[in-house]
Symmetry: C2
Subunit: 483 residues, 2 copies
């Protein structure tokens, strides 16, 4: 259904000129999305949605491997539910859409369209959990959620988005904390190994944590424009929701006790992260593991040679398909090879295979890597093997390249002036000491719009002084401008 | 997380006493659902949701095999969209929930929570489709939808439910009609071979068709109480939505033409159908192909023999798992075998394997079929093979049994008195002639609450006269009370 748009890649704004414009150009030209006729909503088109499906499959397997099961809870949440956890209502109320009429009647109680489902799970868990034998409860749901935010950006911040939300209940704090960390680690492995996006694991500062959580842990990643993006979160909720919703169990010692809960999620913003971490001025660069199409085969050469070249190209396709590669062919005659090269580069297909009459004479095809542009002539007998190796190499190299970029754009600042300078002139992540005072954190934001991303588990340095007030640092914190 | 409810199966109301009560008892005791704190909404609990996931996987593969791709369109639909197709707005307006406020503001235009997405797809297709080269467009989405209906019933008619909705656009009527029939046939094969539910393929009468369709085709199935349930629908929409949303393309002959569209869907009501077609007074009976757990192994015998029996049972489990069977063990000591037998029968697990000390001496285990109660002693060396064969046999036998029941409860009526008698005293499906007049169809409903289910493609008889007015019959129609 792709519109046959004969425009060339030069229509994409260069990243260096205007990164935001580049981003919006790329996701539209690559046919990943379209704007929907509802404020801040998009249509997820097939290529983007298929990547989301691959993310789902991969994560779902991990969730199930670690004992979780899927369920589905209602979209609508009664207004009164939000009142039961004070921080939660303050955090989410400003962003809620409200259903006030249904089936021709004005509703007695307004229904929020869920922004997240801690309250609904809490309400049900209170009824399901009676005894220590019922614990732990380990559920996840794949769902749509809505947050009516002021600024929206396709994939990264849309009014409606898709996600999964895990909600678990445990008998002890230790167990709940272990769950919180286990899920963060599952996300980290997934984002790094599947999406080729390096992450910083750490804890959110109190001002940045989830509304209603005791502790929020996050993965933070660096986009190519130097901004950070939170790629996953995992929340230790303590007994906040257990108390709000009265989720108690009778323990072995015959005492009624509140459970400890967690929640954790990743969203379709990951699609935006793939674009912003790997894309370049020619368009998307998709990691092979999630690419809907991993290889495109393009027969080239004069029209009179098509009779022999196209069947050879088709044979490559058939052979790669049996080798488990997701491969397409573009043998159209009314479109030039040059146009096709640009088009599939723009769409980020990891490998292009060119084959022409001279290649055929030499018994070879030419593999072209999207990530580096490198061309590799390969004997026809070795195409399957080489492609499979090369897909793994590209995946690894893309991760390494992103990791190098992250390190090159990571700085350590001793004082606010240095921090502001890094943020404004170098762009990237700045590690700085922090005394733990909200005001000192806020001062950074006021100075340069950078916010605290997280307190990393494994900081590359241990700053001695608070970047703002100079008092002894309690924490090493990553600051950055963020999406 | 299942509550250890020590109640026995006798707490399920017998089907013959009160089928509705039986249904509600079973789905709750088998832990398939719970009522949510929002009118007409339920929580889909893991066992039920996992069956839905298996349905999704199976159908999704078929959709993709036939050239469709998945996408995701917004949940919210602007009110004005509904006005663009006259029948559509009349059909759906009474059931819509409306978002009137969001993010602290009253919205300028109310947003409906989607009851179905013809309008949203139509709006986007109008922008994407320009040329004959863009056709066909073959998209599907897996989504939640909301219809605020007066009467609700878990799974069968809930305010919010899950479904997939395919939406396609074609250059010609022939192509669109072929698509409509192709999808109906995919559904029929799926429902029959995967869910073991026999279906009647046919066309809806004008009064029962989808609001906005030219022709609606359906699959109808018989529940054990003699009521019919529509298990799938596929709509040929002609140019109704194309004209409403101005979806035109430039054809090869350089003329602008309206496209022809289709839509088709199945929903989580299939879960209710599984219960009502196969369940019995002992509880659920789940077809092996969709069962989350296909086999449960239960070690039996006195406590002193557990040392040898439990490891033997675990070995059966390990072996079955490697043979690709979804198997669990219940070796709990604080619950009696009799309680477990009842429990897993109630949950509908296709095969129970009992193994005790005497079995072990004889080198055997006992397989018990859920559908027939039949017990088969099997040598331990042959358990894997026998289980795999038996699962296929159970699947086939369940389908055949349901088919026999449907035939036994299918009647042909020559006049209204006979039809009313069959509906009221025999319960089931009644085939009758119909002249094509709305009033004659309505008269049947007025007489006995039976509605026309569909005009079957392959009727078992060809009644000569309209069941109501006695004029020559144009159609053979299945009538039944329906969910
Ligand atoms: Zn300070
Ligand atoms: Zn008549």
């Amino acid at each position: 259904m792709a519109k046959e748009n004969k425009s060339f890649v030069k229509e994409i704004t260069p990243q260096s000129e205007d990164f935001s414009r580049w981003y919006l150009d790329v996701i539209q030209k690559a046919d990943w999305m379209d704007y929907a006729p509802v404020r801040g909503c998009i249509v997820f088109k097939p290529d983007a949605y298929e990547i989301w499906e691959r993310c789902q499959q991969e994560l779902d397997r991990e969730f199930k491997r670690t004992g979780h099961r899927n369920a589905y809870f209602p979209l609508f949440i009664p207004e009164s539910f939000f009142e039961k956890e004070k921080e939660h209502v303050e955090g989410f109320n400003p962003e809620l859409p409200w259903v006030t009429e249904a089936g021709g009647d004005i509703l007695e109680e307004r229904l929020a369209v869920r922004p997240t489902s801690e309250t609904m799970f809490g309400h049900m868990y209170a009824q399901w959990i009676q005894s220590y034998r019922d614990l732990p409860v380990l559920l996840n749901q794949w769902a749509n959620v809505v947050r009516w935010e002021k600024r929206t950006l396709p994939f990264l911040r849309t009014s409606e988005f898709l996600w999964q939300e895990g909600h678990t209940a445990h008998a002890t704090e230790d167990e709940a904390r272990a769950e919180t960390m286990q899920m963060l680690e599952i996300y980290a492995n997934f984002v790094e190994s599947f999406l080729a996006i390096p992450v910083i694991r750490g804890q959110k500062t109190p001002s940045e944590k989830f509304a209603g959580a005791v502790d929020t842990y996050s993965l933070e990643s660096l986009m190519k424009d130097g901004k950070a993006l939170q790629t996953a979160t995992s929340h230790y909720l303590g007994q906040n929701f257990a108390k709000g919703f009265d989720i108690q169990y009778l323990d072995k010692d015959n005492q009624r006790k509140y459970v400890y809960t967690t929640s954790w999620g990743i969203t379709t913003r990951l699609l935006g992260a793939i674009v912003m971490v790997h894309g370049d001025d020619r368009g998307l660069v998709i990691p092979p593991k999630v690419a809907p199409t991993q290889v495109v085969v393009i027969p080239i050469g004069p029209a009179k040679t098509r009779e022999t070249v196209v069947p050879a190209a088709e044979q490559i396709v058939a052979s790669l398909q049996s080798a488990g590669v997701r491969v397409n062919i573009d043998a159209r005659e009314d479109v030039s090879p040059g146009w096709k090269f640009n088009e599939y580069e723009m769409r980020g297909i990891p490998i292009r295979i060119e084959i022409g009459p001279r290649d055929l004479e030499n018994g070879q095809a030419v593999l072209v890597r999207r990530d580096t542009g490198e061309k590799l002539p390969v004997p026809l007998t070795q195409v399957d093997e080489t492609v499979n190796e090369l897909l793994a190499t590209i995946q690894a190299d893309m991760f390494q390249a992103a990791k190098n970029r992250m390190h090159e754009h990571s700085y350590v600042a001793d004082d606010l002036a240095a921090l502001v300078n890094y943020i404004q002139n170098e762009r990237g992540l700045v590690l700085a000491g922090w005394c733990g005072d909200d005001a000192c954190e806020r001062a950074v934001k006021d100075a340069c719009s950078a916010t605290s991303r997280n307190i990393p588990f494994d900081p590359p340095a241990q700053p001695k002084h608070c970047v703002t007030c100079g008092k002894p640092a309690q924490y090493a914190v990553w600051f950055a401008k963020a999406y």
